[in-house]
Symmetry: D2
Subunit: 282 residues, 4 copies
């Protein structure tokens, strides 16, 4: 029996008639077996397709396949071919442990679809937790540094690991456009509110002040505008007048950690497209 390897083909661009037919035809003629196929065309005519297929191990000539696929296609169409495999990530944290703890436990039991290469923090509070799991912890304080110096120090550390994604697992400092540019569409943040409600600092205090009856959390890609990047997933929880801002923060942590986990699962499995500051999630 042949060993099989899974691959993910990602395609997006302006829609044209026959795109699905074209792609499935190329794969069919190559004898490649489609396991899942998702496609979507937005009302303004943008086409998105994610095709999971398998080949005999070591038998796929990726560049040749891509070249065949792009024949007759508009050059505006963006094609990527990924092996189905774990992503390499570095986590950035500050003092709160809940998202980090969630990701470490999942990682320890091989449920994260990612390898956590290292954890970087501007405080050393979480070092004991991280060391329990045998992962490098880099304490890079922001004190006595300019913002640029601090980010430079982080970038030097990241350079050691060369991660595919940065996960801001409650990293409580704003990143500059200069920093973000290094990881375009590869930084995922968890924001502790149901965006766009309560952008900025202290969202649970703001939520309590406003008297909302539901709180939430939002996982999103980071771009240059704080809290304005494409939303990946959100979830909510009911609260009432008896909940203080602190209670809301406590309850919110459970939402945050699951929303972040869910978003990572989707991103790491190549299920998330970005278009016009919105996501298409298969």
């Amino acid at each position: 029996m042949t060993d099989l390897t899974k691959h993910i083909l990602l395609m997006d661009g302006p829609d044209q008639k026959g795109l699905i037919y074209h792609v499935t035809g190329v794969l069919f003629r190559q004898g490649l077996n489609i396991i899942h196929n998702d496609e979507y065309v937005s009302p303004n005519g943008q086409f998105f397709m994610r095709t999971e297929f398998e080949s005999a191990t070591n038998q796929l000539d990726g560049p040749a396949l891509l070249s065949q696929l792009s024949e007759n296609l508009s050059p505006d169409i963006n094609l990527r071919l990924n092996p189905k495999k774990k992503k390499n990530v570095v986590l950035l944290v500050t003092k709160e442990h809940h998202c980090l703890g969630e990701l470490l436990i999942r990682y320890a039991f091989d449920e994260l679809d990612a390898d956590i290469l290292a954890v970087v923090s501007n405080y050393n509070h979480l070092q004991p937790l991280v060391s329990k799991f045998g992962i490098p912890f880099h304490y890079i304080s922001h004190e006595h540094k300019t913002r640029d110096e601090h980010e430079e120090a982080i970038l030097r550390t990241l350079a050691i690991y060369d991660p595919e994604y940065l996960v801001l697992a409650k990293y409580m400092r704003v990143l500059t456009p200069g920093f973000v540019r290094h990881f375009s569409n590869r930084i995922i943040n968890i924001h502790h509110s149901f965006l766009p409600a309560f952008v900025g600092a202290s969202p649970y205090r703001q939520a309590h002040e406003r008297g909302v009856k539901i709180i939430g959390a939002t996982a999103h890609f980071v771009n240059n505008d704080l809290d304005e990047g494409p939303i990946i997933t959100q979830d909510v929880k009911e609260v009432d007048h008896r909940h203080t801002a602190n209670d809301m923060a406590t309850m919110g942590r459970d939402v945050e950690k699951l929303v972040l986990s869910k978003a990572l699962k989707l991103v790491f499995d190549d299920r998330v497209f970005i278009h016009n500051n919105r996501t298409v999630v298969f």
Copy 2:
């Protein structure tokens, strides 16, 4: 066997030691039976209590009871005694039928805890629906009128009915402070977003634009700042990239009508206190 009548005692003000003891004592000594009691003290020391009790029909001397209850109480404490009975309401609508339809069906089957005295609208689109249920419909167009003239005309019509509450069941015009002042804390609105996200017009378009993954609706009291009044209840529904702004509006209607119904049920049963632009809901 004696006939029994239910009453609701509402009390709020600065907390002082022994308030529950005082109130339950007065009721106990009068032989009045407490059916439900809810109380809450906010972290900043505001006391709220709602006590549902019963007396032999026609045997309760309300003013005497209130006077006994207020003995030894700080004058800052606000006491109200309501019979448990249906509220009189007038609905304001524009063109959308879903909230109105929901309320009419509930009313027709005696599930609203209110009598709908009339429906007022700035369009006549919903007249056929309202007439099916034998309720007066007043078409008061805003065309060729200044905002003040229009509100004056509505006020004149409302004066006929003297309602305890106005329900804005998708009334799509902003009310002036002058109008609102006539019905302080007695106007309930349904806003088609998860406030404070997407205040103002076209919230579903805004939500789609921002790429949110959850939409919602908010029932709130109306005060002078548009969409800024105390929130009574909220609910949400998941959406994804496949939903257009129109789809979101369609799905949102189901949320809106149930959120409004739920809020009305709470308000009409005297379960909602307002304090510092927030609600305490028992």
Copy 3:
């Protein structure tokens, strides 16, 4: 500019390599434009596909298209081609109004994707509501009739309308296999519990007795085993110890009516496949 008509192609059967390629190819060569395409292959190798496409009005030769599509296909594969249009339905009700009211309001404002041809009931309680909407109401009492006689009488009435679907909008009598056989996979029921919890009568009483913290409702196709048919959609609501069985029933009604509406929307838009007593819902 050409008028366009929408069509829905439904296909299910044992998976074989190249099915999507085959179907999209036939449509592509006919110049037919795919608007949406959904496909799914179950782990045990069953293929499901729903393709929404458009043709110039009156220009589609349906039988010819089906014949082309079925060339080279395994005869086990089931192909259907529906115009995208409203379904004809008859509602069966007993005494409860909430699902009926919901469907009537939606129908009155053209939001049901169906024409309600008639309402049949074993009681006359809901006649006044139905007449408000100008729909024929048939009161067919079950009293003084055997079960078979009663069902025969209903069938005779249904024969007048020849509906595509029967909707049991809180019809509280069990249908016999003999009756169900006339409408195989075309009867939709709303059950007032989160099936398979609390099958049979008085589910809210059962739920209260068991002390559950969440109640629910289930829309499903009816087959010969009571409450055992394929589930289309479900939803839930939180309850607590303060809710009596009656309160649960009241709250449950809001869930029931929305769950039924949602299920109907899916079925009437040809989005629901049945396989092995389960549904695939696109």
Copy 4:
């Protein structure tokens, strides 16, 4: 300034007029300050009350207070007075890590309202995780032992710790009535279904088989009938046809761990009464 200590007074039994008045009066006359008070009377006349109050540290004579409170009270009324403090617990687990991991992280950051004295398991799979947190792990295999011998061995280990509560954090063996009797109303289990749907083994396989659209988890007290004990809390998650039984199990784990955490928080804070196999949760 005086140091203050919090206490929780729990009271339940047949309702009688004036109970709240009586209790609040005793506390008032002692100068004890009520922080929160919750009461509930069931429709069949059972009274429940939880009163959180504070006294100057070391100044409360508990037995004297209880004796004063029980004066004039029916002997059917059950009174308990607990200091507000962490509970001592032992966890029982089998092979699954998700609930255990959740509880360990919360414990490590002092968020559990409990001290985990030890973890007992019939497998040694989870020893590495437990040791990271410096908690004793007892591997007590059930192999080559009768059920009674196995339970005896566990009881001997538990005797070392004398825990107030046992938490079955995915302990996959049925406990005998003889074992349960030692911890009456003090064993909390997480069941991987929305009980009473899918009692017994493999609930996700059963759920998948039945084609449900929502899965859930239930935290409950354990009594002699498997999966039949009083429910503390439940939560759910939506699934669809694309989810295999395995996917449901994976998704279900997130629900299970949060439902268990939430139930423990409620129980450990003395917020849960048991009556007639149901819970009253304040």
